[in-house]
Amino acid sequence: MAASPQPAARLQWLFGAIAVPRGWRAGAGPIIAAIVLFVIVFLALAAPLIVPHDPLAMDAVQRLKGPSDVHPLGTDAYGRDVLSRVITGGRISLFIGLGAAVVSVMIGLMIGLVSGFFRTADAIIMRIMDSLMAIPSILLAIALVALNGPSIWSVMGAITIPEIPRVVRLVRSVVLSAREEPYVEAAIALGSSMPKILWQHLMPNTLAPLIVQGTYICASAILTEAILSFLGAGVSTEIPTWGNIMAEGRIYFQLKPSLIFWPGLMLSLCILSINLLGDTARDMLDPRLKKREA
C-alpha cells in the first residue's frame, strides 16, 4: 500500500487515525474550483506585470466607453480601464481573505487550546468569546474605520475579531474530547509540562478541522470586505477592490451594468471556488465519512 513510508508517515502525523479514505477521488467540481481559484490568485499576484493599463490612470476623453481593442471590458466614469481594475482589485480582496483566515485561526488556536485544557481559564475566556460573538462585524468595521481612518488593517481587524470566537469554540471542543484520551493522561503521568502536552499531543488533533474552518473564514472575509467597501466603510477609495469598483459603478448601473457585472462575477467565482474546496477538504478529513465507506 505505502510505496514510500515517509509521506504516509507525514499524513499520519497531520491527520492521525483519520487518513484520507482509500479510493477517494475528487469529482469534477473541486478540480474546476481549484483551477478557477488558481487563475484568480495568479492574476492577482501578477497584476502589476500583466494589466494592460494603470488601474488608477484617468482619461477624461474615454469615460464610460464600451468594450474595445484598447479597453477589452470598457472604461468607468473616470475613464479608467475596467479589466485592469478588476484584476488589481483581487489583490486586496484575496489578501484580506487569506489574512483574516490565518490571523483568526492562529489566535483562535492559542486561546482555544488554553480554554479547552484549563477549566478555570475556560470559564473566563468563553464569556469573553460570547461577548465578542455578539458584535456584528460590519458595525465593528464602521467603528474601526471611523477611529483609524479607512485602511486595509482596520478592515482586516474588523473581519478577524468576530471570527476568533468561532475558531476558539472549534478548537476547544476538539481539545475537550482529546484531553480525555489515555495517551494525554499518560503524558501527564510522564511529567510532561502543560505547554508541551498542549502543543505536541493536543494541537495536531485540531489541524484537520481548522483547515476546513479556515477556508470558510477566507471566503466570508472576502465577501465581508466587498460589502464594507460597497458601503464605503472599507479600504480607501483610491485603492481598487471588487467592492470599491462595484460601489462606484452603482451610480451608472442602468447606463453601464458591466461596471458591476465583472467585479461581481470575479467575487462570486472566487467565493464559490473557495467554499467548494472547503467542502472537499471536509469530506476528505471527516472521520465519519471514512466509517460510512468502510
Binding site: 499520519q12 492521525g16 489515555p182 499518560a186 501527564i188 511529567g191 499531543h201 468502510a294
Partner: protein, 553 residues
C-alpha cells in the same frame, strides 16, 4: 463441575450452516474471512462459538442474520438453512420478515443497541408493530408480559423509562425481551455479558437458560470467555482464523481437547487458584495510601446535589517487588483510587506517600519531580499511545522530561523494546502497525522507561485476548523480578488477580471491604460481597489449564 449433558441426537435441527464462505468484497485473492464454516443448532440447544478476536465469530452470526456490511463482506459459498430455506438466497424483504420472527439477536453493548430517545416499552412494542397487527391494549399487555418474563422489577415504571435510567443489567434484559417477544426459534447472543459485571453476568446467563427452557429456543452464543462456555454450553465450536477447528459436546471439549489450538486456548485461561505465596522482601514500603477520599459533584451556585463518594477511607501499602490487586465491579471506585494515586484527579482528602514524600497535596508543578516514581499502564492499548507519534518518540517522552539526553534515551528505548519482547527497530514505527498486545507492551515499556518504584496497571490486560493476556501477565511478572518494581494491579477479573497478586483488596461502593493475601481472599473470603464475587465467577470449579475439575487442596 456440572456440565450440561443432554443429548441432542434425536432432536430436530433448527438451523444448519454448511460450508459457509465469506470473503472481502471484490478481493478474491485475500484469504477468506470465513472458510467453509459448518455448524448445526438443534431445538433447545446452546451452541457456543469461541475464539479470539478476529477469528470470525461475529461474522458468522452476522451472516446468519443477513447483516453482513454491504460492499465490505460477501458470502460467496455455502448454505444457511432454516426451515428448509436457504437464508443466503432470500431477498431483503423476506429476510426482514425472518428477523425477530424466526431469528433474533442480542448484542454486547446494551446502551448503544437501544435508542436513547425512545422509551424502552415503545422500543419493545416496535418489534410487534413491524411484524404483527395488534390492538394497542393487547400490544401493551404482551410487552408487559415479556418484561415480566425477563424478571424486570416494577414493569409499569420501566415500560415508561428511557435507556439511560436503567442499569446495564436491566438494559440487557430489555434487549432480551425485544429479541424473544415473537418467540423466535433461534437466538443469537453476541458476547451479551462481556460488558457486564460478573454478578450481573451470572443473572443474565441464568435468565437466558430459563427462557430457553420455557420457550425451547435454540441459542447460538458467541463468547471469548471459557468460564461462560463451561457454564452454559451444550456444544462448543472453536474458531480460529475463519475456520472451525474443533467441535464437541462441552465436557468432551474441556476434558479431552483434540486440537493443539484448543489446548492452547484452554491453557491460557488463568486459574482461580492463587499463585504460590512469595517471601516478603525486607526492602520496605514504596507506596502507602492512608485515608484516601474522593468526593465528586456537590456544591455549585445553582446545583445542590448529593455528593458522590467515589472513594472513602482507602488505606493500603505496597512493598518493593510485591503486587497488590484492587478488585471490584464497575463503580466500586477502583479506578478512582488509581487516578488519585497518579494525581490525574486530585483526592479530596488523605495521604499518598511515594518515595518518602507526601504527594496528595503537592501542586502540579511541585509534583513533577515525583512523577517518575510512579507510572501507569491503561486498559485500552489503542488509545494509550499517541497515533501520530513513532514508538520511539513515545518511549523517550518521559526520560526527556527528567533531563536524560536524547541519544541516551533513544538507546535505552531500543533496550526497553527488547526487554518487553519487541524488535528494537520498532522505534521508528507507528502504533497502528502493531497489534493490541504489542501496543500494550509498548505502553509498559514507556512506563518502565522512567524506572518507577510503582507501576499502576489499570485493567491493563482486560482488553486483550486470553493468550495475549497470559503473555502480558508473564511479562509483568518477569519485569518485576528483574527490576524489583511494585505493581498496583487493578482488575475486575478475579482469575487475573489470582494469577498475579500477592495481596488483594476488594472494593465495593468506594470502600475497601476486604484486604488480605490473595490465597486467603480467594480460598476463605470473609465479606459477603467477596463471596458473591467469587461465586459469580463462571466455571470456577473447573481447572481449564489441566482439563479437569479443580483440585481443592
Amino acid at each position: 463441575m456440572k456440565f450440561k449433558t443432554r443429548s441432542f441426537d434425536d432432536v430436530p435441527g433448527v438451523l444448519e450452516v454448511r460450508d459457509l464462505t465469506v470473503r472481502l468484497a471484490g478481493n478474491d485473492t485475500a484469504p477468506p474471512v470465513l472458510d467453509r464454516v459448518s455448524l448445526k443448532i438443534r431445538q433447545g440447544e446452546t451452541v457456543c462459538l469461541v475464539g479470539e478476536s478476529g477469528s470470525g465469530k461475529s461474522v458468522t452470526s452476522l451472516s446468519i442474520m443477513g447483516l453482513l456490511p454491504k460492499g465490505a463482506l460477501v458470502a460467496t459459498g455455502g448454505r444457511i438453512e432454516l426451515e428448509n430455506r436457504n437464508l443466503l438466497e432470500l431477498g431483503p424483504q423476506a429476510m426482514r420478515d425472518m428477523r425477530a420472527r424466526k431469528i433474533s439477536m442480542i448484542f454486547q453493548e446494551p446502551m448503544t443497541a437501544l435508542n436513547p430517545v425512545i422509551r424502552v416499552g415503545d422500543q419493545i412494542g416496535e418489534v410487534l408493530d413491524t411484524h404483527t397487527r395488534l390492538p394497542a391494549r393487547e400490544k401493551k399487555a404482551r410487552v408487559l408480559d415479556i418484561m415480566n418474563q425477563v424478571h424486570l422489577p416494577d414493569v409499569e415504571r420501566i415500560y415508561r423509562s428511557y435507556p439511560h435510567q436503567l442499569s446495564g443489567g436491566q438494559r440487557q434484559r430489555i434487549m432480551i425481551a425485544m429479541a424473544l417477544i415473537l418467540e423466535p426459534q433461534l437466538l443469537i447472543a453476541d458476547e451479551p455479558t462481556t460488558a457486564l459485571d460478573v454478578t450481573t453476568q451470572k443473572q443474565i446467563l441464568s435468565l437466558i437458560a430459563e427462557l430457553q427452557e420455557t420457550h425451547g429456543t435454540a441459542v447460538l452464543f458467541i463468547t471469548h470467555d471459557m468460564g461462560v462456555v463451561a457454564e452454559i454450553a451444550d456444544t462448543v465450536h472453536v474458531m480460529k482464523l475463519g475456520q472451525i477447528v474443533e467441535h464437541a459436546p462441552v465436557e468432551d471439549l474441556l476434558r479431552r481437547p483434540r486440537q493443539e489450538y484448543t489446548k492452547q486456548l484452554l491453557q491460557s485461561v488463568p486459574s482461580l487458584t492463587p499463585r504460590a505465596p512469595r517471601a516478603m522482601s525486607a526492602d520496605g514500603t514504596v507506596l502507602s495510601v492512608s485515608g484516601l477520599q474522593k468526593v465528586y459533584g456537590a456544591h455549585g451556585v445553582f446545583v445542590r446535589r448529593e455528593p458522590t463518594r467515589a472513594a472513602s477511607d482507602v488505606n493500603f501499602s505496597i512493598s518493593r517487588g510485591r503486587t497488590l490487586g484492587i478488585v471490584g465491579e464497575s463503580g466500586s471506585g477502583k479506578s478512582t483510587v488509581a487516578r488519585c494515586i497518579m494525581r490525574l484527579v486530585d483526592p479530596t482528602d488523605g495521604d499518598i506517600r511515594v518515595a518518602d514524600q507526601e504527594i496528595a497535596r503537592l501542586s502540579r508543578r511541585e509534583l513533577r519531580p515525583y512523577r517518575k516514581h510512579i507510572q501507569i499502564v491503561f486498559q485500552d492499548p489503542f488509545r494509550s499511545l499517541n497515533p501520530r507519534w513513532t514508538i520511539g518518540r513515545s518511549l523517550i517522552e518521559g526520560p526527556l522530561n527528567i533531563g536524560t539526553d536524547k541519544q541516551a534515551a533513544l538507546k535505552r528505548a531500543a533496550e526497553l523494546l527488547t526487554l518487553v519482547g519487541l524488535p528494537d527497530d520498532a522505534v521508528n514505527r507507528y502504533p497502528h502497525q502493531f497489534s493490541g498486545g504489542q501496543r500494550q507492551r509498548v505502553a509498559i515499556a514507556r512506563a518502565i522507561a522512567m524506572e518507577p518504584d510503582v507501576l499502576v496497571a489499570d485493567e491493563a490486560v482486560s482488553a486483550l485476548d486470553v493468550s495475549v493476556q497470559a503473555q502480558v501477565l508473564d511479562l509483568l511478572d518477569e519485569l518485576q523480578q528483574k527490576l524489583g518494581i511494585a505493581i498496583l494491579f487493578i482488575t475486575h477479573d478475579l482469575r487475573v488477580a489470582a494469577q498475579i497478586c500477592d495481596e488483594v483488596v476488594v472494593m465495593q461502593h468506594g470502600r475497601i471491604v476486604e484486604h488480605d493475601t490473595a490465597a486467603n481472599v480467594l480460598a476463605n473470603p470473609q465479606h459477603p460481597y467477596t463471596r458473591a464475587l467469587i461465586e459469580a465467577a463462571p466455571g470456577r470449579q473447573w481447572d481449564f489449564a489441566n482439563f479437569r475439575e479443580l483440585q481443592t487442596a
